[in-house]
Amino acid sequence: MQSTEDLKKIASQVRRDIIRMVALAKSGHPGGSMSSTDFMTALYFRVMDQDPSTWTRKGSGQDAFILSAGHLTPMYYSILSRAGYFPTSELASFRKFGTRLQGHPSVRKGLPGVFQAAGSLGQGLSVAVGMALGKKAAKDNHSVYVLCGDGETEEGQIWEAALFAAHHKVDNLVAMTDVNGQQIDGTTESVAGLGDLEAKWQAFGWETISADGHDMDKILEAFAKAGDLKGKGKPVMILFKTEMGHGVDFMAGTHKWHGSVPNDEQCGVALGQLQETLGDF
């Protein structure tokens, strides 16, 4: 099992991968990728029962993860490759013509680890709910995890899925919201007045857990709580409070890095702040 220190090291490498991938591609979304890096690292390297060597798109006999916020591919692909789903060298092909690492997740190029397409926002929660019901029907006692951005939860379909999952007692489902408070046009408060997300999810009949999404101990604690709630009749939402662009000072806490690419000089500064722990791709 990976220690907390190990997880921090992996997360540092994932952030380096994110910066280098978007720099090489000259496009991509570093901000949300970096805000979700820590808890997603914990999920893949400590929490989920998953095995790249036996993975299939059917997901049977394993926990499954669905990325709903499809633009977080730099983080997603880095973690999948670091977890052994495909060679890390392939990260250099991100967003390039012919790549399996499409700008947003695709199942059409056969990239291991990817269950479903994402990119048009607000849909992955429904997919995860369906997978979780499929696991129940198959008597597969594994869980389904799904990641949404906080801005993404402005989509109406999210709340359709919220109502449905609670009504059907989908209690093998753990949803996560990356609450970085930022979206393309500004803060989530200034754009849409998201308000009290925890109260909203509770009102929809979900168990909620709030945690600091950059404190590895708190992250593991939150996942442990979610694990305890499995099979208790309610879906679980973990609200991870995070900072967009976390890990690089000039990128942190602003919507400006949602989908912007650092230039060569900025890239050098950013990489200087992120320790290379597992070897760059």
Partner: protein, 316 residues
């Protein structure tokens, strides 16, 4: 001409309900979802027989499509159903990304298609759904013509691995097709003729047969083809018939834009162009009325088909 007997008026949606029940009995992976329209979609029998495999989604079609795609990932065979407008236009993006681009084995069960939905009016009548579904890569589009063919098409859709749009309707219409396994992608030649080819889909197939009987009394021998699968289209049968008769009429309960008529015209234009006439909606919305009133008002019925045949033969 070949004689077809109406065994009694039945709605095609009930054919779907019967097909779903039979598919469910044959394959435990078949599940059904609906957005508060279980009765309208005739899913009652399936829900009663397999309560654990029936999922009420409430009035939330977008989530229904996404949930169905997630179920399909795990190996289930979901039929997600509502009125045609609400499982196409309302959820086009969900079907595009989660079902077609995502290549999931989801069956879109689309009832009350076209103006024969009737009294509810244009908000519930869609004349655009075939267009929306047929432009999606990898989507199979099936529009069967009667109770028996809808039942068999439903069974075939359950066995087929991939996205299917299955379109059927509300009113009770003639039930006349032989009870035989449905072949996806096959055009059914119901009557062989030499003067004109009437290509019809859905409710218009029976109307085409009625028109052909009328035309026979005028000395016109019409070939009648049932295009139950709009995509993939059986081009070979269409082209061969066009070459044989030299004149085409296409009839559908759908608007011109993106419908079967444009599809056939495109195929023939690039292979063997022939005079062609269309029986369909012309960039229009529907309105309240009974199904037969509406079909007559929009000219989408046996009379409209016979008139179109007379016009197209003049152009030969």
């Amino acid at each position: 001409m070949k004689k077809y007997t109406d065994r009694g008026k039945k709605d095609t949606r009930s054919g779907f309900g019967e097909g779903l029940l039979q598919a469910g009995k044959a394959d435990p992976k078949v599940v059904a979802l609906t957005a508060d329209l279980k009765g309208s979609l005739k899913m009652d029998a399936f829900a009663a027989e397999f309560p654990d495999r029936y999922y009420e989604c409430g009035i939330a079609e977008a989530n229904m499509i996404g949930t169905a795609s997630g179920m399909a990932l795990t190996g289930l065979v979901p039929f997600a159903g509502s009125f045609a407008e609400f499982v196409t236009g309302r959820v086009y993006d969900q079907i595009r990304m989660e079902v077609c681009y995502g290549k999931t084995n989801v069956k879109i069960a689309s009832s009350h298609a076209g103006i024969t939905l009737g009294e509810d009016g244009a908000t519930h009548q869609t004349m655009e759904d075939i267009a929306l579904m047929r432009v999606l890569p990898d989507m199979v589009v099936i529009n069967p013509c009667d109770w028996t063919q809808t039942k068999n098409a439903t069974i075939a859709a359950a066995k087929y691995n991939g996205p299917v749009y299955l379109r059927f309707g509300r009113p009770k219409v003639a039930d006349f097709m032989p009870d035989e396994p449905f072949e996806i992608g096959k055009a059914y030649v119901l009557n062989e003729g030499k003067d004109v080819t009437i290509i019809a889909t859905g409710h218009m197939v029976w109307e085409a047969l009625k028109a052909a009987e009328t035309l026979e009394t005028e000395g016109i021998c019409a070939e009648v083809i049932d295009i139950a699968t709009i995509k993939p289209l059986d081009k070979a049968t269409v082209i061969a018939s066009a070459i044989k008769t030299g004149a085409i009429v296409v009839a559908e309960e759908h608007n011109m834009a993106g419908g079967l008529g444009e599809l056939i015209a495109g195929v023939l234009a690039s292979t063997s162009p022939k005079p062609i006439e269309f029986v369909n909606g012309k960039d229009t919305f529907g309105q309240s009325g009974t199904p037969s009133e509406l079909l007559a008002a929009y000219g989408i019925d046996a009379n409209g088909i016979a008139d179109a045949v007379r016009r197209v033969i003049e152009r030969k």
